[in-house]
């Protein structure tokens, strides 16, 4: 009987202790806001309003990058806009270490097929807003990798903006072009071909790939930038396999060179 009583008391005590315990309120989870900026950092709207030549401080998420050895040009984006961080490859224009660069791209194995896919790492960039042949970019930049969650943009379909001035508002963003038809380019012998190595066909495999696509109204010249997507990468091979008349969806970064000159990173045949 005594044993039974003891066990009963013990159970009561345990239950009472459990009842007394204050229920722990879970700490409110910090919601990740990819639009949030550190103190003193410009919003995209402030950056867009800044004059050329102004010093700027921005934060964005690395969507892609050209090879470190070719200048480590960075394609940044946040939910409000995009930025292109320029480097001429001689170490003067972008101050980012090789170690930090490895944190912002998925791979630094620069063998055939390398693609400068970004990890979505957040970086802070201090530099000067500049323009080169219509491309608005940040030059003389110092890049700091921040301790933050990553963020990658969804491609925004801008097909309807082709040929319109509003397209420039999307400059440098990750974009999509739908139902585009591959148009002929002329090779050195005047033959119709689906793509060219270099703008005039003066390159060889490994050079930039240029090809024409039409939205039904006009023809546009797109490029697979060879420092962003090496020969042997999926997109490079896919463009080499294009035929005139193919209908394709394309994704890439809305680079500018005397007009829209998207750096294509993805292509799918319809």
């Amino acid at each position: 009987m005594k044993k039974l009583l003891t066990v009963l008391f013990a159970v009561c005590m345990i239950l009472s202790l459990a009842g007394c315990a204050k229920k722990e309120e879970p700490a409110p989870a910090e919601v990740f806001d990819p639009s949030a900026k550190s103190e003193g950092v410009m919003t995209y709207a402030e950056y867009a309003a800044a004059a050329l030549g102004d010093e700027v401080v921005v934060e964005g998420f690395v969507q892609a990058a050209q090879s470190y050895w070719n200048g480590a040009k960075l394609y940044l984006q946040d939910p409000d806009g995009a930025y292109f961080v320029y480097c001429d490859g001689k170490g003067e224009d972008v101050d980012i270490s090789e170690d930090d660069f490895a944190k912002v791209v998925v791979s630094t194995d620069y063998s055939d097929g390398w693609v400068g896919q970004g990890t979505g790492a957040k970086v802070q960039v201090k530099g000067v807003k500049s323009e080169w042949s219509g491309e608005v970019e940040i030059a003389d930049a110092t890049v700091t990798v921040l301790d933050s969650e990553t963020w990658l943009a969804e491609a925004e379909d801008v097909t309807a903006l082709l040929g319109k001035d509003e397209l420039a508002d999307k400059m440098n963003r990750f974009v999509k072009f739908s139902n585009m038809t591959v148009e002929a380019s002329k090779d050195a012998d005047g033959n119709d071909v689906a793509f060219l190595y270099n703008w005039d066909g003066s390159g060889t495999p490994g050079s930039d790939l240029y090809f024409n696509v039409s939205d039904g109204n006009a023809t546009y010249n797109f490029v697979v930038e060879s420092y962003l997507c090496y020969d042997g990468s999926e997109v490079y091979d896919a463009v080499e396999a294009l035929n005139i008349g193919d209908v394709v969806d394309l994704t890439g970064y809305l680079y500018w060179y005397n007009g829209a000159n998207p750096h294509i990173t993805g292509i799918s045949k319809k």
Binding site: S133, D140, N258
Partner: protein
């Protein structure tokens, strides 16, 4: 017996030490007695073009024609559009011994390649070999002889006293002028323009109307003076002033007061935005052709892009403005002592284990300076053949003097070529050494940084230049460059060194002897 053994061992050690001196990763190339035509050879040629399909076609035809002459040699072509990428690839491939056989390059880059052991073939003997040298008796095509190569251009391939590069094409820089706008501004152009005058006209071109349009072109954009290659700009200005830049020993002399004076001058015109550069603004040709630039300095090898009727265009045709384009020497400080840089691609040959393969490479390189290739390639841009033989060829003379109504005879391109031909004796090159490529980059960087800071309204004063000199020295490792030894045989060791090594060897032997003797004693 023990003494004899000891003496023998010490002799071996000393001899082995001598053997280490000047050891090489691969043997130096020696010309074979005969070219073995019973064998087949596969050689690689890494070539650079100016993103110009016509140049690619010249390379392809040259290879095809050469293979017809030498059916046992197959040449595979790899194309590049910038020198720095070839340079990077060569550096990468030196370590894996997978360099090309023949490569287009700059002598500055060869100076770096030479830091490897016998990586690049020394051309001294090849140039003069009776059988396989330039125009040699066993060469199967009409090749130029050594004295038919333009002397100044051949000299440019000399590094540390030896020939390592064969000139392929030569160009210089030219001033492409919108004469229509110069005259609209009320100026007359002399045959040679001074730096003062070009800056004066450039400043005058900045006048605007009440709607913020530039008076001279009625547009919102006008950059009166754009220089493509700011490293050439600095080097040329220093040369014209007789100011130091570097010397043959690889000493860096650029950081002097005359450089500072030049930068002060440039800063003023960068601040007003009368002057800009390719890196800051973009290609001079694009602005010139759109009527947004009056003075564009670029290579003579970029002439086909210059002018509103240029065969090659990089801007939409609806942006073109009609104007008269003239070609002049770059601005000068002393119009009686013209100085313009000589540049352009050279050829180098990489060493291989098989001397026959190297000889096949040499024959191909030699073919590239034969008349057919030289004339065809020079027609693609404002290049000049590197041989007197090609320059005097009736086909080339006809090209220079033909009517100016075809794309091939585009007037601006022809004038650019003639500019260099007429001024070959006024051209110069800078010293080549391990680090000269970095110094060249640094020279341009001084101008670029000065321009950027001036445009941003920063103070340009002595403190700015002190900091800039320090930054550029560090960034381009200019405190680490050195003259090229060109991997020459270092010769026998000096007697003092031999004596010192012998003493060291003897000391080690004594130590070993004492050690083994003590072991033997202990074991007893």
């Amino acid at each position: 017996m023990r003494k004899i053994l000891l003496s023998f061992v010490s002799l071996l050690i000393v001899l082995s030490l001598f053997g280490c001196h000047g050891s090489r990763g691969s043997a130096a190339f020696e010309i074979p007695e005969d070219f073995d035509e019973t064998r087949s050879y596969e050689i690689t040629f890494w070539a650079k073009n100016d993103t110009n399909i016509n140049q690619v076609n010249v390379y392809k035809k040259a290879i095809s024609d050469f293979e017809d002459i030498y059916p046992n040699i197959r040449v595979s072509l790899k194309l590049y559009t910038d020198y720095s990428r070839i340079y990077n690839d060569v550096i990468t491939n030196i370590s894996t011994n997978t360099t090309p056989n023949v490569c287009i390059t700059y002598p500055d880059h060869i100076a770096t390649y030479l830091t490897g052991n016998n990586t690049v073939v020394c051309l001294n003997d090849l140039l003069e070999d009776e059988k396989y040298g330039l125009g040699g008796s066993e060469v199967r095509f009409d090749a130029p002889k050594k004295d038919e190569v333009v002397k100044e251009f051949l000299q440019e391939g000399m590094i540390a006293g030896d020939y390592y590069a064969l000139p392929f094409m030569r160009s210089s820089e030219a001033l492409y002028v919108n004469k229509t706008y110069v005259e609209k501004l009320g100026y007359e152009l002399e045959d040679i323009i001074s730096w003062d005058k070009i800056f004066e006209i450039s400043e005058a071109a900045l006048a605007k109307d009440g709607d913020d349009n530039y008076l001279v072109n009625g547009q919102k954009v006008m950059i009166p003076f754009i220089y493509k290659s700011t490293d050439n700009m600095m080097i040329s200005m220093l040369k014209q002033l007789g100011a130091p830049y570097s010397d043959d020993e690889g000493n860096i002399l650029i950081f002097n007061d005359m450089t500072r004076d030049i930068l002060y001058e440039i800063a003023g015109h960068a601040r007003s935005q009368a002057f800009s550069t390719f890196k800051i603004s973009s290609y001079p040709a694009n602005f010139l052709n759109a009527g947004q630039c009056i003075f564009a300095i670029d290579s003579t090898a970029g002439a086909t892009w210059m002018g509103s009727k240029a065969p090659l265009l990089d801007i939409p045709e609806d942006q073109l403005v009609d104007f008269e384009t003239i070609v002049m020497p770059i601005p000068q400080y002393d119009e009686n002592n013209l100085q313009m840089i000589s540049q352009g691609p050279s050829l180098c040959i990489f060493n291989k284990a098989d001397p026959q393969e190297v000889l096949a490479s040499w024959l191909f390189a030699q073919y590239l300076i034969s008349n057919d290739v030289q004339i065809a390639y020079s027609k693609t841009e404002g290049y000049v053949p590197v041989t007197y033989k090609a320059q005097s060829d009736p086909v080339y003379q006809d090209y220079l003097n033909a009517d100016y109504d075809e794309k091939e005879h585009y007037q601006v391109k022809i004038e650019a070529s003639k500019l260099l031909i007429d001024h070959i004796s006024d051209t110069f090159v800078t010293s080549v050494f391990n680090g000269s490529a970095s110094l060249r980059d640094a020279a341009g960087s001084l101008i670029e940084n000065t321009c950027k800071s001036a445009r941003r309204g920063e103070s340009i004063d002595d403190a700015f230049f002190d900091a800039l000199y320090e930054k550029v020295t560090s960034l381009y490792h200019l405190d680490q460059s050195s003259a090229v030894s060109a991997d020459r045989d270092l010769g026998p060791l000096p007697v003092t060194s031999k004596a010192l090594l012998s003493v060291l060897a003897f000391a080690w032997i004594c130590i070993a002897f004492y050690y083994f003797r003590s072991i033997r004693k202990d074991s007893r």
